[in-house]
């Protein structure tokens, strides 16, 4: 049987390359009725902030061709309640837990990193840098290489946990951002977050989402994600986690070929809660059938014609 273990950061070896994307897996336990979540490489929590956040009002989701737009507004229970109410349950389930965090400014991120540092049961930190940088006039940390690097360096100082930086695709050159966060000390890069999009209700002549715009996810964004993973893989030497439209094992394998060491399954979890575990099984079957002894031989083995 093929060895599915992958190392996504120094010392952080996952039992397989399949994780679940932040915001699509709740706090993890919601999936326990459907399969044993400890069988996944890791689960990644809904994005957490220092204080609980109530999220956006109005319509929050709408489907588009082969995808969906969401404007949840990062609703979450806050880091304190996660630590007291949710993490112990995940530990009992033996799940490998990666915590996704976000903030409004550098202090928020640094504070969250410090708070989670050394907490038992947390395998790594994923920082979502697609949030507005209030100090820099509301622009995202994730679209400015300098701001992104400063943020990563600040978080790096506050945590000994493996650090994953999650990149926004809403930039003109994602490679520049990837290099900047690598340099600033990120152990790993995950990409992509959602692409900003919009949907209009022609009958009512108004935007469908309460927030006007929202994040596009699902199979519709897979080609963009795959291209970005491929480009970033050429440019950095730290491991990459591929995200975007992955709905089955074939999709996941394509991301591995393009240079991702691991992948995250997002929107597809909504359609079938067992998608992620089916992808673990599908990858294993494929690699076994192809005669691979370890998945690492397959990763980044794309042949250019």
């Amino acid at each position: 049987m093929v060895d599915l273990k992958v190392e996504i950061a120094p010392g952080l070896v996952l039992k397989n390359p399949v994780m679940t994307a932040s915001g699509t897996f709740g706090y993890g336990r919601e999936y326990a009725p459907y399969f044993d979540i400890s069988r996944l490489g890791a689960i990644i929590t809904k994005g957490l902030s220092r204080q609980p956040k109530i999220g956006n009002s109005g319509v929050r989701i709408t489907e588009t061709a082969c995808g969906m737009l969401n404007a949840i507004g990062l609703e979450n229970i806050g880091v304190e309640r996660f630590l007291s109410d949710e993490l112990p349950i995940l530990q009992k389930m033996n799940a490998t837990v990666i915590v996704n965090v976000f903030g409004n400014n550098q202090d928020d991120y640094a504070n969250l990193a410090a708070k989670l540092d050394g907490v038992a049961g947390i395998a790594a930190l994923e920082i979502n840098i697609s949030c507005p940088n209030v100090k820099a006039g509301g622009i995202q940390f994730g679209i400015d290489p300098q701001a992104a690097a400063k943020l990563v360096a600040a978080v790096r100082k506050k945590t000994s946990l493996p650090l994953i930086t999650k990149l926004s695709p809403n930039v003109s050159d994602i490679v520049v951002i990837a290099k900047a966060v690598e340099e600033a000390g990120s152990d790993c890069i995950s990409l992509i977050n959602t692409l900003i999009g919009m949907a209009i209700d022609l009958e009512r002549k108004c935007p469908i989402l309460g927030n006007v715009t929202g994040g596009l996810s699902g199979p519709a964004i897979k080609p963009v994600a795959l291209r970005m993973v491929y480009q970033v893989a050429q440019a950095v030497s730290i491991p990459i986690i591929g995200i975007g439209g992955i709905a089955n094992a074939r999709d996941a394998l394509e991301f591995l070929l393009a240079g991702a060491t691991a992948i995250e399954v997002g929107t597809a979890n909504f359609i079938n809660p067992q998608t992620s575990i089916e992808i673990v099984e599908g990858i294993e079957q494929y690699l076994d059938a192809q005669g691979y002894s370890k998945v690492t031989d397959f990763i980044a083995s794309l042949e250019l014609n």
């Binding site: 709740g26 929050r60 989701i61 489907e63 082969c66 909504f270 359609i271 809660p273």
Partner: protein
């Protein structure tokens, strides 16, 4: 909760754009179905378009089947409408809390069911469950409103022998069946006659809003079944949330997931 691919064992056209599917299901699924719960349904071969499954109320069930009634309004419902007997569907359910079906403590209390448009599919699940248990419906009112006569579905089934004791009143926007007007007018009237009633309501949001107002005016408790848009149906996307009054702290607002904490909520808690 169960997750399975199943077979359509019967399909019946109720109107030009409303149809009923009977879908095979395991005994275990049927045992945990209760009125007001729902399923997420999808076609096996949608090839991601539509992408997400769609929520539909479990309208009736037996030992090895359940039924849904679907109105064609868009991509998902229209694709389901193309499936014929024998075709395969993907099912996830039963989901949600359902109506509180413990009998009112005071046997004399009346139960008023209020259905607007397709809200009848959810409300009828209570009635069909009563029929199937041979439970008499004395003291139960069904106030049923729709745009016009042809949109009033299930009338035959809701007036036949099974429905012994049920008092049915219809109302339509255009007066083509029953009175002309809105179903909340019927509710106001009934609550004056029976102030101690329990009320269950399902329908479009504007209707539920006015049901809430009527209940408030009459100082009457009731339950509303909401139909917010859903992506997952099992509490992980936060797409379906509804603002609710925070009982712990009346000055603040909280959100509730309609899919797992609902779809049925005490009327006075919902903030529209």
């Amino acid at each position: 909760m169960y997750l399975f691919n199943s077979e359509i064992v019967n399909k019946e056209k109720l109107t030009q754009n409303i149809f009923r599917l009977r879908i095979k299901a395991a005994n275990d699924f049927c045992r945990v179905a209760t009125p007001g719960k729902f399923v997420m349904l999808g076609s096996d071969d949608s090839l991601f378009d539509p992408l997400l499954r769609r929520p539909f109320g479990i309208c009736r069930w037996g030992t090895d089947w359940f039924e849904v009634i679907i109105k064609i309004v868009g991509k998902g419902s229209s694709q389901l409408s193309k499936l014929e007997k024998g075709a395969s569907v993907a099912v996830h359910g039963p989901l949600g809390n359902g109506y509180p079906i413990n009998k009112p403590e005071n046997e004399q209390n009346t139960l008023i069911l209020v259905a607007g448009g397709m809200g009848i599919a959810s409300i009828a699940s209570y009635l069909f469950a009563a029929f199937d248990r041979k439970q008499p419906l004395i003291g139960t009112f069904l106030l049923y409103g729709a745009a016009n006569y042809s949109e009033l579905i299930l009338l035959n089934e809701l007036t036949d022998a099974d429905a012994f004791g049920l008092q049915l009143q219809t109302i339509t926007d255009d007066g083509s069946c029953g009175r002309q007007g809105l179903v909340t007018q019927l509710l106001s009237h009934e609550l004056q006659n029976n102030p101690q009633s329990q009320v269950f309501a399902c329908g479009p949001e504007p209707m539920l809003k006015s049901v809430q107002k009527v209940l408030q005016k009459n100082e009457c408790d009731g339950f509303l079944s909401l139909e917010n848009r859903m992506a997952c149906g099992f509490g992980v996307c936060l797409g379906c949330v509804q603002s609710m009054i925070n009982e712990d702290d009346e000055t603040s607002v909280k959100t509730a997931k309609v899919c797992t904490q609902g779809p049925v909520f005490p009327a006075q808690q919902v903030i529209f």
